[in-house]
């Protein structure tokens, strides 16, 4: 199997170097680290890592904005949010901006390795907290003019994730394949991100930010 290349973005040197060392010890190719959003965007464009581990509190800057720029310009690079943040609005913003998943900083090294591998493979890494946020976001958007909708099955899967079941347990309970469960979870994120991009484009056109006269 090809070595997965990663980049660590965090404004805390202690944490940044600790994570980089953990990952290097476990055989990942740590291409770069960055301490602020601007450097993260610039360096990611140069080293093109498979996975960017992104902290959300970059001093005064937001990791969500850096996430948006990186995922927009580098289609093969995936962003995994690694935040000490309670699971709140900033996590939701980062996920809508294009992050493929979220992990709390207190996760164990084994969980981190697993999450990076799954992110590189294209899966969505969910915590129960993120599932609760995403469910809430779909329900909040239901009041909008053309909201994205979850299928009944997607809602069911997401609720089980939010209640702490693993993909394997969900597959057993719903009598689905493990792959199908992963696809449902991923689909809930993709729809959210697509809707977000459409909204941004519409906003840009309405406010004349798209460069047209």
């Amino acid at each position: 199997m090809r070595t997965i290349s990663v980049m660590v973005v965090d404004d805390h040197p202690m944490w940044r170097d600790g994570v980089a060392r953990d990952l290097a010890e476990r055989g990942f190719d740590v291409r770069a680290t960055a301490g602020d959003a601007a450097a993260a965007v610039r360096i990611a464009a140069a080293v093109r890592p498979d996975v960017v581990l992104m902290d959300l509190n970059l001093g005064s800057e937001s990791g969500a904005d850096a996430t948006r720029e990186i995922t927009a310009s580098l289609p093969t690079t995936r962003v995994l949010v690694l935040s000490a943040s309670g699971e709140h609005d900033d996590v939701l913003q980062a996920v809508k901006a294009g992050a493929s998943g979220y992990l709390v900083k207190s996760a164990s090294a084994a969980e981190l390795v697993d999450a990076v591998e799954r992110t590189a493979a294209g899966d969505a890494v969910f915590t129960p907290g993120l599932a609760g946020l995403v469910l809430g976001e779909y329900r909040r958007m239901a009041a909008e003019p053309s909201p994205p909708r979850l299928t009944d099955r997607e809602t069911e899967v997401l609720r089980l994730v939010a209640k702490g079941l693993t993909a394997r347990q969900i597959a057993d309970r719903l009598v689905l394949s493990h792959r199908t469960v992963e696809n449902h979870v991923q689909s809930t994120l993709r729809k959210l991100q697509l809707h977000n991009r459409v909204e941004l484009a519409r906003y840009a056109i309405e406010h004349g930010l798209d460069g047209s006269p």
Binding site: D11, H12, M14, W15, G18, N57, G59, A84, S85, G86, E87, H88, D89, L92, K105, S106, S108, A109, P128, G129, A131, G132, L133, L135, G136, E137, R139, R140, R159, A162, K163, G164, L165
Partner: protein, 373 residues
């Protein structure tokens, strides 16, 4: 943050009252001019108008600056009644008994307005009554026209008093809302600070400690516990909004521990305070139950969902579960304990509760409470 000295929110009302007094003074002057020469003592009528002008000027300078104490409005009332009383000597007996108005005419309306602005509905009504009674006394009789004047004066006092009270109350509510907002901002600033420093360090200590093992693992465990407790504390939303509703998320997030995970929407879930605290109590009961019966290593997940017309709370654990029939058995013996007390309390909220369990698969509660209150 410095507290603002609250300006009297009724200030515009005071100014409006003064304007009313100036306009009605002009009207009184016109009326006296129209009856010039017909009065018993024309000089006295003009003297009364002069007194009214002086008093209008004095109160016009005094009231708008900072409102007035109750004593000053009472002095105002006495002056107005005194000027009305002088009409008894200015007007002829025939004029007093007939259609000719007293010298101050509608000028006395303004004092009713001031009474209302100062002392609310009660003050306005009382001032209106006093002026009307004074009117009766000067005339020496009561008829339909005078009664109509009384109804109007008392009515004006009542309505203006209500308006003044309402505007003060809404100003208070606004100030309270601003205070809550400022406190929230401060709390968020603190939370960010803690976040960027203490939490990061605790998380790192825990992680490395567990990896190193031995005594370091114990220290890591301790650091982890503090990290979870601190994070729950700083992420807890402010408890009460200005409308008296409570964001249920805040009450649940503080229940987070190493073994209890709480998931909630990113936007507030506002509920009346009593309902929110009842629901958080039920969740705590369910979690207690997990701690007692689900086994030492059991973890629990709490999920809060806001469906708009109802709120759904799920509590799931991965413990040993309840053996088949044990719930029914316990129920039959009349000692349902937790399950029954939870069921009863959910029913009191108009909600439903379901319980799913199987041996070895943990227990899952689901509470649905409609938003009908």
């Amino acid at each position: 943050m410095t507290a603002r000295v609250p300006r009297d929110p009724a200030a515009p009302l005071w100014r409006a009252g003064v304007l009313l007094r100036v306009i009605t003074l002009c009207f009184a002057g016109v009326v006296v001019a129209a009856h010039h020469g017909e009065y018993a003592r024309t000089w006295l009528a003009w003297a009364v108008v002069g007194g009214m002008a002086v008093w209008t000027l004095a109160t016009g300078l005094y009231y708008p600056r900072r409102g007035a104490g109750l004593w000053f409005t009472l002095v105002d009332l006495a002056v107005c009644c005194g000027l009305m009383a002088l009409s008894r000597w200015a007007l002829t007996p025939a004029q007093l008994a007939g259609e000719v108005p007293l010298v101050p005419t509608v000028w006395v309306t303004a004092v009713v307005a001031f009474g209302a602005i100062r002392a609310g509905m009660l003050g306005g009504t009382a001032f209106g009554l006093v002026v009307s009674l004074c009117n009766f006394a000067v005339r020496g009789f009561v008829d339909i026209d005078l009664l109509r004047d009384m109804v109007l004066l008392v009515g004006i006092g009542f309505v203006l008093g209500l308006a003044a009270t309402t505007s003060r109350q809404s100003a208070l509510r606004l100030a309270a809302a601003e205070r809550i907002e400022a406190a929230t901002a401060e709390r968020e600033r603190l939370a960010r600070g803690i976040h960027d420093s203490v939490l990061q360090v605790l998380a790192r200590v825990r992680k490395r400690g567990l990896e190193v093992g031995g005594e370091a693992a114990e220290l890591g465990e301790l650091a982890g516990r503090q990290e979870v407790a601190l994070r729950a504390l700083v992420s807890a939303a402010p408890l009460e909004s200005s409308s008296g509703e409570v964001d249920l998320r805040g009450l649940l997030q503080v229940l987070t521990t190493e073994r209890v995970h709480v998931s909630a929407p990113g936007t507030p879930v506002p509920l009346p305070g009593s309902v929110a605290s009842e629901l958080s109590f039920l969740v705590r009961e369910a979690l207690e139950n997990v701690a007692r019966h689900a086994g030492p290593s059991a973890r629990a997940w709490v999920l809060l969902e806001d469906l708009g017309s109802s709120v759904v709370l799920s509590v799931r654990d991965d413990g040993v579960g309840i053996p088949e029939g044990r719930l029914a058995e316990a129920s039959a013996q009349g000692r349902m304990g937790v399950a029954r007390s939870i069921r009863g309390r959910v029913a009191d909220l108009g909600g439903t509760i379901t319980l799913e369990t199987a041996p070895g698969q943990g227990v899952e509660w689901e509470l649905r409470v409609p938003r009908t209150w």
